[in-house]
Symmetry: C2
Subunit: 261 residues, 2 copies
């Protein structure tokens, strides 16, 4: 069973990608909606919450952990991996790798929460993979609340997106990493404002491919289940808005259970 967690609901974009890539696997998801958003919190708090969340998923039977949140990946990946002796995947490496493969002129942009951008983790990871790359980063803290409100096609959202990505556009990036799992929901407006010449890299899809590759290798030779994998969703706070946005991301309704951490 794959355990996936996020500070809130953005990680459901990773769940969506995982279910496409690994349709036979059971997935358990934990959204820490009571303590969301992590993106404006300090490193210590993010680490403490991430260890809590991982423990919960292990108790529920998860044997692989997917950190479906860029902010947690930048601050708490090492802490989670050191504390628990199981495979842990984070979302930064796969996104950076894919961006490096796609970029033609090595001018890569990254957008994310304030915490992710402040960590500088994308820049470091990209430069390790491609030392000659130029990386431009922009924090977009209002995009998460806009997605959580379901303001996907509103003109105000388009204006705010344009304002955030303007500095990246003037620097003529050729590739843009959506460095927050909420952002794939806005990929259409981001692509429109960025222009067709820029390749968008969806970090949710990138981590799903990475997990799929790893699990595929482990299972080689064993029979692959024919049945469709189950999806169980826990949140630390059940609010009506969560149901609506979960529906928006997954494309269908699903029962949501309360997790008391």
């Amino acid at each position: 069973m794959i355990g996936v967690f996020d500070s809130g609901i953005g990680g459901l974009t990773v769940v969506r990608a995982l279910r496409e890539r690994l349709p036979g696997h059971d997935i358990i998801y934990l959204g820490d909606t009571a303590r969301t958003p992590y993106g404006s919190k300090s490193a210590e708090t993010i680490i403490r919450y991430s260890l809590n969340n991982t423990e919960f998923l292990l108790k529920k039977g998860a044997r692989t952990i997917v950190i479906a949140c860029n902010t947690v990946s930048s601050y708490a990946f090492d802490a989670v991996r050191e504390q628990f002796k199981i495979p842990v995947f984070e979302v930064i490496g796969p996104g950076a790798q894919l961006a490096v493969e796609r970029s033609r002129r090595s001018r890569i942009g990254v957008i994310g929460t304030r915490a992710t951008i402040a960590s500088g983790v994308y820049e470091q990871t990209i430069k390790r993979l491609l030392p000659g790359a130029t990386v431009y980063a922009a924090a977009c803290p209002l995009l998460v609340p806009l997605v959580e409100e379901g303001w996907i096609n509103k003109p105000e959202t388009a204006m705010i997106v344009r304002k955030y990505i303007h500095p990246l556009k003037t620097r003529q990036i050729d590739t843009l990493i959506l460095g927050c799992t909420h952002y794939p929901v806005l990929s259409e407006v981001i692509q429109r404002k960025m222009g067709p010449q820029v390749v968008l890299v969806d970090s949710a899809r990138a981590i799903a491919d990475r997990v799929g590759g790893h699990i595929g290798k482990t299972l080689e030779g064993t029979a692959v289940a024919e049945k469709k994998g189950s999806l169980t969703v826990y949140v630390t706070d059940v609010a009506e808005q969560f149901r609506k946005t979960a529906h928006l991301i997954l494309g269908h309704c699903l029962p949501i259970q309360h997790a008391d951490l």
Copy 2:
């Protein structure tokens, strides 16, 4: 000592008003920034967090509790008052009272977070005070993130404010309650979009007057301190953005301590 708490930083508008009204009193403030925002959470979670916060302030020496948050006032006031045997003030009653006094045509609008508006508490309180009143309410969930980002004078904020208050404007309200302690920071743009004929009621100022009246009565006959009261600020998560927005609200910098709840 007066203990004030909020789900985050908005309650500092109440602190600002309290210091104007009761300059000789010591104030201790707790902003639960690690778990902010409460406005989209469920009632149970809001109550649990509010009891935590009150306990913290009592341990630090507070003898009067001011709930500087509309969402908490709507869901957790009774729970806090029943659990602890001390004077507790909430922000809804004073704001509703002031609106009823100011309104000439009894057409009162209220804006607040999703949770505050869903509770219907302003409508009930106003109708208890003025049974013939007509109350129109609008949830404005994006205004809190906009204030926390410091986007006070940006055109996107003005557009979002206009969109949110449009239904209230068409209903020709004569008085508008800013039913969230973050909103006084936006009062200029709200007034501009609402038009000069509508009276804005600042719930932060209203609760400060209520607390001032109560404490003034209690202290009658005793010597009033000449010294300026102290202000101590705790937050559950110390992030850089908090300092900036605290500065924006209070007009000066102040040391911020970490509270571990």
